[in-house]
Assembly symmetry: C2
Homo-oligomer: 217 residues x 2
């Protein structure tokens, strides 16, 4: 990351002039470019992806990206933030519904696979990069999201144990990581239009998580 750019957030705002920046890229084009960037990030990894590769995929030159975004990191942030916002829209509507613990778990898993279907690249990026990113203040919202995520799942699992629908002899934190991981790693191999709908994959996963793969004796 060259150019330390110490000029204390110098952007537009000519000290009392117009409020908007001098240039106004269209949101449609931004979104289009973000989708392209997300695909490259997901495929090659964030650090291995140069702005020139993104520009190539978009059919333009590297410098031209800076008409729409003010840094490579901004693209990453916008991709992840958009994904998390939509994810929590879905989760919140599930969590606020009057469901039993088992139904809540089923709904959360199904909703997760739908999000993977919609934001495949963003999920892949999130999984690979979030661990390093949380160290930066710019990406602190990732930590907050992770904590809400953990709380939602742990609460559901604990409620299930209390109600007698989930086994009480399991380490609940281990079970949490188990469920969480089994769901989200699917983004690494899932391809939309591959014969399985998100709902169908969710059903099979739930069947394994809830009842196991062994035959009942």
């Amino acid at each position: 990351m060259p150019k330390q750019n110490q000029s204390s957030d110098t952007r537009e705002k000519p000290a009392g002039g117009k409020k908007k920046p001098p240039v106004t890229p269209s949101p449609e084009r931004r979104g289009e470019l973000l989708r392209i960037a997300a695909d490259v990030f997901a495929e090659q990894g964030y650090n291995a992806t140069t702005v020139r590769k993104i520009a190539d995929a978009a059919g333009m030159l590297a410098g031209s990206l800076y008409y729409h975004f003010d840094s490579k990191e901004s693209m990453l942030e916008e991709i992840l933030r958009t994904f998390l916002t939509e994810l929590w829209d879905g989760y919140d509507s599930v969590l606020s519904a009057p469901l039993g613990p088992r139904e809540t778990l089923e709904a959360l898993v199904t909703e997760s696979f739908r999000e993977i279907d919609r934001h495949r690249s963003a999920v892949a990026i999130y999984q690979k990069e979030s661990k390093h990113l949380v160290a930066q203040t710019r990406f602190e919202y990732l930590v907050e999201s992770q904590q809400r995520f953990e709380k939602a799942w742990l609460t559901t699992l604990e409620r299930g144990v209390t109600d007698g629908v989930f086994r009480a002899d399991l380490d609940i934190r281990l079970a949490y990581r188990f469920v969480r991981d089994t769901v989200w790693v699917a983004a690494s191999w899932y391809r939309p239009g591959g014969g399985h709908s998100p709902e169908e994959i969710a059903r099979q996963y739930l069947s394994m998580v809830l009842d196991g793969i062994s035959v009942r004796t």
Copy 2:
């Protein structure tokens, strides 16, 4: 990667002289440096890790690494190759034993957690980077390993279905990915000496995978 180094693999071999390279680094020091490098790779990601960071962690300067290794990529390769070699040592002894499908699955899972315990960093690197690396001819052995891996697991699962110990109503390829992922993602959060031994984690995971997390009705 600067320096195109077009000189057609020019390294030692002075056209008929001594067989060994002019310098001979000790294998002990190599191993030590590789362990350090693996930790940094795992924590920061391969591409985000500069040779200067590795050198820092090792208490030396960047150029000094090139006395022991001939490139950053060589370090990565040796780390992954060492890990896979030891992994298959364990797997092969399990697969050649006269075990039923359920016992084979249990042994494979347990062995996997032992390898995670031993090669935590290498496993983390493998998971993050292998997807991009397989494109390079230098890392083709990763593909071969993945194919053996898949075959071993699929065979075991199919044998279990035939023998009536695993459920026949599951998509077997989905079940394979399910079991594979649940095991290996543990490397992302597992820390040795964290209260759980590899065997204990294996038992809990197997309990969930085989019997599910719901209470039997």
